[in-house]
């Protein structure tokens, strides 16, 4: 068991290292020089002033040193939770991210958890009720196959633009200040609903179909047939089938996490929802490299932590992996 976790942790550290290095390389891969772009924002006529500013800014950005030094400085920043300053907000990147993270988590966590739980439940129910199956299967396929952006646009068009049930964009009404008052909370919920729904629906379709197929498979396995032959109650057979079918779904969750996070970015852009996804969009259009680096790093860490939690949960839930780790298998 200890060996297993050791191996897992090493894998995660290596992944983190590689992903962070790629993240560091992004500004270097993007066209243009960050210092020039930053200076381009100001209308500087004097050449000497320009050169002086260029020197100051280069020092401030830490790009006046050799590449390897920049790389080490970057890691130093990462370890001290310091990602530099955002051009766009002229504030520390961490502050900008901290403002956006609650919005993104408010979309992602309910969307992932609810779609997983409801998808599994309804998929399992569809596996044994023909009528429900005839409804769930086509709808599930439709949602699962829908690109995030397409579904977000469709929902926005019908429910916001045509029917005007929900606001089409932003995180809350611009007139209401952010704060813990009912007016803001109500406004935030109304703005939250459509982006949440589009992320939820796409994942829900996938889970429901996956669970339906797995439960049908489990109900046909030898142990289910054996239990039925011995007169076990339907409930018991279904409970076993559900429990065993959830296991592959759980590893599916780890795999799907990255996709959902990616889809979330697109959805936020469509709804101009002020989370990390929208921030990425702004950072790219403003060529705000430090902000972009910071957001990606944050997403990398988030996805890796979530994956690690699922890995551990899987080991705890499935006796087969749990025991093979202690070396007790035949």
């Amino acid at each position: 068991m200890r060996r297993y976790f050791f191996k897992k942790i090493v894998t995660y550290i290596v992944t983190f290292f590689v992903a962070t290095t790629i993240d560091w390389a992004i500004p270097h891969l993007m066209p243009g020089n960050p210092v020039e772009i930053y200076l381009g924002r100001f209308n500087i006529s004097s050449n000497t002033q320009y050169l002086a500013l260029q020197k100051t800014i280069s020092e401030a950005f830490g790009v006046n040193v050799p590449l390897w030094r920049q790389y080490l400085d970057f890691w130093n920043g990462v370890l001290h939770w310091n990602f530099g300053v955002s051009f766009y907000a002229t504030a520390p990147v961490t502050h900008v991210i901290a403002q956006a993270v609650p919005y993104t988590l408010a979309l992602l966590i309910p969307a992932i958890v609810l779609s997983y739980v409801l998808g599994n439940r309804i998929g399992a129910m569809a596996a044994r009720r023909k009528v429900l199956d005839n409804v769930v299967l086509p709808i599930g396929y439709l949602f699962q196959a829908a690109p995030f952006a397409w579904l977000a646009l469709a929902l926005s068009y019908f429910l916001a633009v045509r029917l005007r049930w929900f606001p089409p964009s932003l995180g809350s009404d611009p007139g209401i200040g952010v704060g813990w008052n009912w007016a803001f909370i109500w406004s935030a919920i109304r703005h939250w609903f459509l982006p949440f729904l589009s992320v939820f629906l796409v994942s829900f379709g996938g889970w429901a179909i996956g669970m339906r197929n797995l439960v049908i498979y489990e109900l046909e396995t030898d142990y289910a047939r054996y239990l039925r032959s011995l007169g076990a109650s339907q409930r018991l057979v279904r409970r076993y089938a559900y429990r065993n079918a959830v296991l592959p779904q759980l590893s599916g969750l780890a795999l799907a996490l990255g996709v959902v996070v990616g889809g979330n970015i697109v959805t936020e852009v469509v709804f101009q929802y002020p989370g990390l996804g929208h921030l990425i969009f702004l950072a790219i259009s403003d060529e705000d490299f430090f902000l972009l680096q910071g957001i990606f790093l944050f997403i990398i860490i988030g996805v890796l932590v979530a994956n690690f939690i699922i890995d551990i949960a899987y080991v705890l839930i499935d006796p087969r992996t749990r025991l093979s780790m202690t070396g007790a298998t035949a």
């Binding site: 060996r3 297993y4 780790m325 070396g327 007790a328």
Partner: protein, 365 residues
Amino acid sequence: MSMLEIDKVSKVYKTGTFGGDVMLALRGVSFDIGQGEVVSLIGQSGSGKSTLGKILLRLLEPSGGVVRFDGRDITSWSKHQRRDYYRYVQGVFQDPFSSYNPLYKADRVFEMVRGVYYPSSSRAEWEAKLEDALESVSLNPADVLNKFPHQLSGGQQQRLLIARALLLEVKLLIADEIISMLDASTRVDVLNLLVDLKKKGLGVLFITHDLSLGNYISDRTVILRYGATVEMGETHKVFGNPQHPYTKSLLTAVPQLHKKWESNGALVTTGPLARSGATAQFEADPILAEADADPRRYSRSAIHPRQQARAEASDGPKLSLMDRRDVPWHQRFGVRGPDYAAVIAANPPPVMVECEPGHFVAQSA
């Protein structure tokens, strides 16, 4: 000179979640197969008989030892040379249906042979060849050509696969449990077909767990247990005058039509299930006594201490022969470490002694 020589072939598998444990599946197995000779390789599940079949078909690499075909070492052959080898050596396996792609007609297996080995043959030449092959397996072309696999019986499928082998200049057929999934009425036809082919000079390695089938068809018999040869020789000598206690115990378990199990004495097993009162004590069981007394054969020196403790806890002295087979392999012979050569050296095969001309038995300690 023998057509196929198997010379001290060993196979070590990695086991465990991260491949930390090893399992010794074959221990220095040596025998040979001559032209037109049927050798049956008999062993229970886990004896390593199928592993050996796969090594001979070059589907697995041996960890030690050499296989020679017509005097040439085949274990080091390249992929290209291997194609030539398959011209002469072919395999047929237990489940015939799985050898076919159910979406295509069954005779597609012939076209595949043609594509690889006879790309330049003309249609007429090929058809004549095919007809020959089908005739030698007593199949009527009209019955089997242009049909899907599910339209053919198990016996027909198996014979079709043998016919495919015959399309090549096959000299040796590795038949791994080829009739255990067939009904009694059709398995005999396949067995008799092998006899006919043998008379025409085909060598056959007949791998089976069924002693009566092995006995019926083979000239020589090799009995494998835990990856090592325990007894081998001319079939009528091995079966008529079995020397090794393991061979004897197998023979007492074979179900026969006209002789009750009880008349052979109790099954070598302890526990209350042993009928007719002859409860063999573990210590009195010659095979296990031998297995445990002979440290050369069952070297535990290299076993990881924790594993050894577990092995001892779970296969305490009460276990019977049957239960012992249930103990996972790597707990019985588990050796840790990456050095396969050391694993093989630490578990040498028993010495084979010639007890009568053409009849060898593993020497008991």
